[in-house]
């Protein structure tokens, strides 16, 4: 599979590594909105997110000569931002002497777009059910779904951001989709779905 945007970005990245900062400024413009949106899922402090975005780019400029090549610039940036934000949050928590496990939350509300341009009552009813079902998924699953269907990341990139293998990323996403599929297509093809799930897990073991 050819992915033009990925190729373009890794070329820009190379340019930047050679000392051409225009490359980085283009990468910045291509990704800053995605970074911002992703970052805002970890904290309501938007200024913190903006500061962290600036910090990761400053670090890139300062460590330019030590950077390695990457095919997945967007994934790399998201991962760096996530690490930075969580570090900052933990620092703050210590400072405020709030004792927490260090776990982070990925807050997301999948409801907000379901009313877009759809007058189909059945669809609305399903959207409501879907929303309820999504309440119960883990924040890790939410994060994977967000990366996949809002930022368009590949499984390899999602795995990188979540510190998983790409098979596990696939499984994580599949489970959530499966849940929703049962709502959007009740009764029908249940057996087939079970079979395909079985096949998917089978493949997983096979690949390990």
């Amino acid at each position: 599979m050819q992915n033009r945007s990925v190729d373009n970005e890794s070329l820009l990245w190379e340019e930047f590594k050679k000392g051409n900062q225009i490359g980085l400024s283009k990468i910045y413009l291509n990704n800053v909105t995605a970074l911002y949106n992703f970052g805002c899922k970890f904290t309501i402090d938007k200024n913190l997110v903006k500061d962290c975005i600036q910090d990761i780019f400053i670090t890139l400029i300062q460590t330019r000569s030590k950077l390695s090549d990457t095919r997945h610039v967007k994934g790399y940036l998201l991962k760096s931002l996530k690490r930075k934000i969580i570090r900052e949050l933990v620092k703050k928590q210590k400072f405020d002497e709030i004792v927490e496990s260090g776990d982070y939350l990925f807050e997301i509300n999948f409801e907000s777009l379901s009313d877009i341009g759809n007058e189909d009552d059945n669809y609305m009813r399903r959207a409501f059910e879907v929303h309820a079902a999504l309440e119960s998924i883990t924040s890790r699953q939410k994060e994977a779904l967000y990366l996949r269907f809002n930022l368009g990341l590949s499984h390899i990139e999602i795995a990188d951001v979540l510190h998983l293998s790409s098979q596990s990323s696939r499984a994580l996403v599949s489970r959530a989709i499966q849940k929703i599929r049962e709502i959007t297509q009740p009764g029908k093809k249940q057996i087939q779905n079970i079979i395909s799930l079985f096949l998917a897990t089978g493949n997983m073991f096979f690949n390990i």
């Binding site: 992915n3 910045y28 903006k50 600036q54 509300n109 809002n150 368009g152 959007t184 087939q192």
Partner: protein, 402 residues
């Protein structure tokens, strides 16, 4: 194709290329899946299922205002400059380059925002192939343009578009998002008649963004690159050409705007009527100055230091390209070669930078091949040209006979 024959909705959503298609982040994937759906009606049900699931996972998308994007980048570059040891001179050079890139980026950003508000996909990540001549209609549909020269005409309602001899119809979505975009890569050019009758000659390597009809108080178009405008007079609705660096406002007139993002200069030449030039100073934020241009005047603004010069000129020199001619008066060789590069979509390398300083006056017929044009240049200045392995051309100093 076989690989997908027993794919379920879930499998499709796990396929990277399929997701690139839904999100329109990869032009190849878009082409592939559009074709796939046409050829595989039996998969329609599963694909619809996948699309519905996808729609449930979408969340509201927050935007950072453009000014803030600027100030953030400003902070990034300033901050790192302080910590790394770069000489003052180098810094100045970087700062200059940045301003240019900034505006370039911001412009395309602005375009994407305008362009995609009607869709809920993340537009900022979408890459549009600017190597291929095409019109992108207000519904996002892209129509490829194959000829070297294309004529495009919008009817007054903006619903019917004639491209050369073919007619395209589009449903109007209405509102601000109803934008069309014409992309001309290097080596191609086109003439566009907008819905108000205004004619635009779009030069090679340029893009024009415009609404199907002008419903706002002003008629606004966005230009990257160079275009010649013949604006239909309308007192109530001034015509504004927005570019990365300045806005040009007109009442009814013909003029040429050259605003290539990789050029150091912004340039406008007025043939007749009156135009006002408004500079977007200090990265769009503060202080706007308006300069009025009279017929036969040309303004050149240095995008780096803001220096600007207004002078009386022979306008045909600057507008001759639309008739397939390139005219110039004591113009530097490097600038002429740059124009040729764009027109023919070929790279011309000047081996000795000093050669770029030769001044040439005259006329080049661009209907000729690039080789013939280079031969003509060779007659007037002491240079030789040659062709490299990769198809690039180069210019060297003629060997003096000993």
């Amino acid at each position: 194709m076989d690989k997908y024959s027993d794919y379920s909705a879930i499998d499709f959503l796990n396929d990277d290329s399929f997701v690139s298609w839904i999100m329109k982040t990869d032009i190849n994937a878009v082409k592939y899946w559009d074709e796939f759906i046409k050829n595989n009606p039996s998969k329609q049900e599963e694909i619809d299922g996948a699309l519905e699931i996808f729609s449930h996972f979408r969340v509201k998308h927050e935007k950072i205002p453009v000014e803030e994007l600027f100030s953030m980048w400003h902070n990034i570059t300033n901050h790192s400059a302080r910590k790394t040891r770069i000489t003052a001179l180098k810094m100045l050079k970087y700062a200059a380059i940045f301003v240019v890139v900034f505006l370039t980026g911001a412009l395309s950003f602005y375009i994407f925002q305008e362009f995609n508000t009607r869709e809920f996909t993340i537009a900022e990540n979408a890459q549009i192939d600017s190597e291929e001549a095409q019109i992108i209609l207000s519904n996002g549909q892209s129509v490829p343009l194959y000829q070297k020269e294309t004529e495009i005409k919008y009817n007054p309602t903006g619903e019917k578009i004639v491209v050369n001899n073919d007619t395209i119809t589009q449903k109007r979505t209405g509102g601000d998002a109803d934008m069309n975009r014409v992309i001309m890569p290097f080596g191609k050019h086109s003439q566009i008649t907008l819905s108000d009758g205004t004619k635009v000659w779009l030069n090679a390597g340029s893009q024009l963004l415009f609404p199907s009809t002008f419903t706002r108080k002003t008629r606004e178009v966005l230009l990257i690159g160079e275009a010649f405008f013949e604006v239909i007079h309308n007192k109530e609705k001034p015509f504004i050409v927005r570019t990365e660096y300045v806005d040009v406002e007109v009442l009814g007139t013909s003029f040429d705007v050259s605003a290539y993002t990789d050029d150091k200069y912004f340039e406008t030449v007025l043939v007749e009527g009156k135009v006002g030039i408004e500079e977007k100073k200090e990265r769009f934020l503060s202080g706007r100055e308006k300069i009025i241009l009279q017929p036969n005047q040309r303004i050149v603004i240095n995008k780096v230091d803001g220096d600007r010069k207004v002078s009386e000129v022979d306008v045909s020199v600057y507008t001759s390209w639309k008739n397939g001619m390139l005219k110039f008066e004591s113009q530097n060789l490097d600038i002429i070669l740059r124009k040729l590069e764009r027109y023919y979509n070929k790279k011309i390398i000047i081996k000795d930078a000093l050669l770029g300083g030769y001044k040439i006056s005259g006329k080049l017929d661009l209907k000729n091949s690039i080789e013939e044009v280079l031969d003509v240049i060779q007659l007037t200045v002491p240079v030789d040209w040659g062709k490299q392995k990769e198809g690039d051309y180069f210019i060297i100093k003629t060997e003096m006979p000993m």
